[in-house]
């Protein structure tokens, strides 16, 4: 089931009603309902893979309890390794098995040997990269004694399978989300209104921005050899908006839905295209994954401490792993590598924590210097996005090569309305860039209730107007 579908439009009110009216005064029943609803939500796509979520939940729940029952270092390590092997094993098998086999085959044949591995016809379970990382965070936190393990299996299952963020995040930390399943949830008007507003903005980003950009992006990338530089740059630019609208739109909807049920999820995007350098971009893009890698990989490796070689190594590891997390394709690895190259100069000159505030804070417009910084950062991310979107490495390089080719014709037809929409979107995002999401402070900006409602209705009708070009969320494939 996807958020921008008819099925979900029926599913959500039913669950909402059962949650607040039927199971209202019983926390256990509410958690049980969340588990049931989450399994229906996921099973709607493919019920066979529910067993993976259930298995992952049972394993990490049991390991959590076992960790609590032993103080012996070696036993605790074995338990942690078991969890890591189980979760990463599932992820590795479903996501990376074929990639490794085919790359081994290529490597062996390069050296003149013949190696025939068996590739399998495997379906990638939706959201596996998200929920395995979420359960892993639980086990690691319990292992580190940062979190007490839970004995309530239903609450733990609800934490693993919580449907708003099950298939595409935010990847929640057990320390943030799990305790919320033990607290009585009371309906809060302001919280629910805020959630509904965030859902609305998320839908706008997904349906109006991302899905409309997708039409042109698909045409340009699928036929890149026929287009000249201007069109190809336009393709990359639109893809930048598509992926941002798609993924941050999903996150907004997920966070908004969670608010309707009384849960507070972490912010996943903080207006990354308004970043003045690549370090700031990575503090603002897919925050739940970046911080996951920072806390569970980068810092244990030594982080930015130690020798120069160690710093470079750690930077590359975290960016390459982050790229590989996105998919079993060299394009993602190169995308990660490129970002590491962008980031490294900042780290080595100790400028990676220069821009911790929001650009042009308390001002309407940025200074010329800031504008230049924003444009430079955005431009270099565009190059990286070409690798992210390309079918393979060859495609990415030929796309880049064609940008600089002599063919500069604008032989591409597109509706100009897309630029009006993008401009509207950018203005709203810019105005709301200090908030958790762009229209979070609309009540302060638009004081009159009727004007505010007109604004909401404009958003609703624009969403309805663009509803029929429905595309799957890009991050589902990860």
């Amino acid at each position: 089931m996807i958020f921008n579908s008819f099925d979900f439009a029926i599913f959500l009110p039913i669950v909402f009603f059962l949650y607040w009216f039927v199971t209202k005064n019983n926390l256990k029943l509410q958690n049980l309902l969340i588990v049931a609803a989450s399994y229906v939500f996921y099973g709607w796509w493919d019920y066979r893979f529910l067993s993976l979520i259930a298995f992952s939940s049972i394993v990490d729940y049991s390991i959590g309890i076992a960790l609590n029952n032993t103080e012996k270092k070696s036993s605790r390590k074995i338990l942690l390794i078991t969890s890591l092997c189980t979760n990463l094993g599932l992820l590795g098998f479903f996501k990376y098995y074929n990639f490794f086999v085919s790359n081994f085959e290529s490597a062996f044949s390069f050296f003149g040997y013949k190696f025939e591995g068996y590739t399998l016809d495997i379906i990638l379970p939706v959201g596996i990269s998200f929920y395995t990382f979420q359960t892993l965070s639980y086990t690691i936190d319990v292992y580190r004694k940062n979190l007490n393990p839970t004995k309530d299996f239903i609450a733990f299952s609800a934490f693993v399978s919580f449907f708003p963020q099950l298939v595409a995040g935010p990847i929640e930390r057990a320390s943030n989300l799990l305790p919320q399943f033990f607290k009585k949830r009371n309906f809060n008007y302001n919280f629910a209104v805020d959630g509904t507003r965030q859902i609305l903005w998320g839908l706008f980003k997904k349906v109006v921005i991302a899905d409309q950009c997708a039409i042109y992006v698909n045409t340009i990338f699928d036929n890149s050899e026929h287009y000249g530089g201007v069109v190809l740059i336009l393709g990359a630019l639109l893809f930048a908006f598509q992926i941002y609208g798609d993924f941050s739109g999903y996150s907004d909807i997920a966070i908004g839905i969670s608010k309707l049920f009384g849960f507070n999820l972490m912010q996943n995007f903080a207006f990354p295209y308004f970043s003045r350098d690549i370090a700031e971009f990575w503090r603002r893009w897919h925050i739940s994954l970046s911080t996951w890698f920072r806390d569970y990989l980068y810092i244990p490796l030594g982080g930015s401490r130690g020798s120069l070689g160690k710093k470079i190594r750690n930077t590359f590891i975290i960016f390459l792993v982050s790229g590989f997390w996105h998919g079993a394709n060299w394009t993602f690895i190169v995308w990660g590598g490129l970002n590491a190259l962008y980031f490294l100069p900042l780290l080595l000159t100790k400028k990676n924590r220069h821009n911790l505030d929001t650009v042009a804070e308390n001002r309407l417009l940025p200074t010329p210097k800031e504008l230049l910084q924003l444009l430079t950062t955005f431009s270099i991310t565009l190059i990286a996005w070409i690798f992210f979107r390309a079918e393979n490495i060859g495609h990415a390089f030929s796309y880049l090569k064609n940008i600089f080719s002599s063919n500069s014709s604008m032989n591409f037809e597109m509706e100009y309305s897309i630029f009006i929409l993008l401009l509207f979107f950018l203005v709203i995002e810019w105005l709301g860039r200090t908030k958790l999401y762009a229209i979070a402070s609309v009540e302060q900006t638009l004081k009159s209730k009727s004007i505010r409602w007109v604004f909401y209705l404009v958003l609703c009708f624009t969403i309805i107007g663009y509803m029929d070009n429905q595309q799957d969320f890009i991050y589902f494939q990860f």
Partner: protein, 355 residues
């Protein structure tokens, strides 16, 4: 909670009222042609152009209406050569409301001799993808549509199109026919397809001897709701399977959630309208690949019976003469050679003045 639900209901209500108002906008033919001419549905543009500008092709003619099965399966050029004035106005995708729409448009300006509708293997469901382009909300409701999820889906799609239509008019756009003149000026409506089905697909679907699972599925209601491989199941298992299938059919065979019976209403309305205008009408069954074959070990029928069948159905006793890969475009469609063979076979029925 009360306040939240109240405000949410108000906003949802306003949105629905707004979408309903938007869905009442009817579109000009120019806009419909603009939306379809460069697509898989360009036949809609051809139909409208023919209705508006080439009345002589429709008067005293036998008109074929229906889906892509008609569009590719009836060779109207061959029929005209055989002395039967006929025109193929089939458009891709299933939906009897499109048949009803085109018939109403034809009857407004022309006097055909006969209208022949496609007989589907089983009743259609849902709505045609182009319905929001052709109908307003009230027109659709007047023609038998009930309020269900298909209707809500229609409302949203129609609203989107209405907004697009306003923009289209605002920019003073006119449809550019450049490059489409030869298509629009064609005198025959069949879209010829010379493609041949893949060999593997052909043998996968051809219903020789034991038939196919797809064909069995179509005919399950004639076989006590059991597949032949299930005949040896225990009594309780058979009862449960029968119960599940009958219940599913009972639940689905209403218009509460999605269109099932509404689709039959549309075709019945079309037949009644034609009758009122004293235009003869009947149906035609055009085979799909699973119809080719014989000696089935279960009861079967080419199509499910309906009271409207009493108006008459042109169908052949056997379609085995089409048992050749060269005659099929895909599992559901005849290609040009297949349509020629099939059309030749129906000529005697069309020439029979007593029909």
């Amino acid at each position: 909670m009360k306040r939240y639900l109240k405000e949410l209901s108000i906003i949802v209500f306003i949105v629905f009222i707004g979408t309903y108002i938007l869905s009442e906008k009817s579109f000009s033919d120019d806009f419909i042609i603009y939306k379809t001419i460069d697509t898989h549905y360009k036949k809609v543009a051809w139909n409208l152009n023919t209705i508006n500008n080439r009345k002589e092709l429709l008067d005293n003619s036998t008109i074929f209406l229906g889906s892509s099965i008609v569009q590719g399966g009836i060779n109207d050029s061959l029929l005209n050569s055989a002395g039967i004035k006929a025109i193929n106005m089939g458009v891709p995708h299933n939906g009897n409301e499109l048949t009803l729409y085109f018939q109403n448009r034809i009857l407004k300006s022309s006097t055909p001799k006969k209208i022949i509708y496609l007989k589907g293997k089983i009743p259609y469901s849902g709505l045609h993808k182009l319905t929001p382009l052709l109908y307003t909300s009230s027109q659709l409701l007047k023609n038998g549509q009930t309020i269900n999820f298909d209707y809500l889906n229609f409302l949203f799609k129609k609203s989107k199109l209405s907004l697009e239509y306003f923009a289209y008019n605002l920019m003073g756009r006119k449809t550019d026919y450049d490059g489409h003149e030869s298509f629009l000026s064609k005198s025959f409506g069949q879209i010829n397809v010379t493609n041949e089905i893949l060999e593997s697909d052909y043998y996968k679907y051809i219903g020789t001897g034991e038939g196919t699972r797809v064909d069995e599925n179509f005919n399950l209601y004639l076989n006590d709701y059991l597949y032949k491989t299930e005949k040896n199941d225990s009594k309780i298992v058979k009862t449960l399977k029968r119960f599940k299938r009958k219940t599913t059919q009972l639940i689905l065979k209403n218009n509460f959630f999605f269109n099932i019976e509404n689709q039959q209403k549309f075709i019945r309305n079309a037949a009644e309208n034609a009758k009122k205008r004293e235009v003869n009408n009947e149906m035609i069954y055009i085979p799909i690949l699973i119809d080719v074959g014989s000696n089935y070990s279960y009861s079967r029928s080419y199509y499910k019976k309906d009271p409207l069948d009493d108006n008459g159905i042109i169908h052949l006793d056997s379609y085995n003469f089409l048992a050749n890969r060269d005659y099929w475009d895909d599992k559901d469609h005849l290609n040009q050679r297949g349509s020629e063979l099939f059309t030749e076979r129906i000529i005697p029925y069309l020439k029979d003045n007593n029909r």
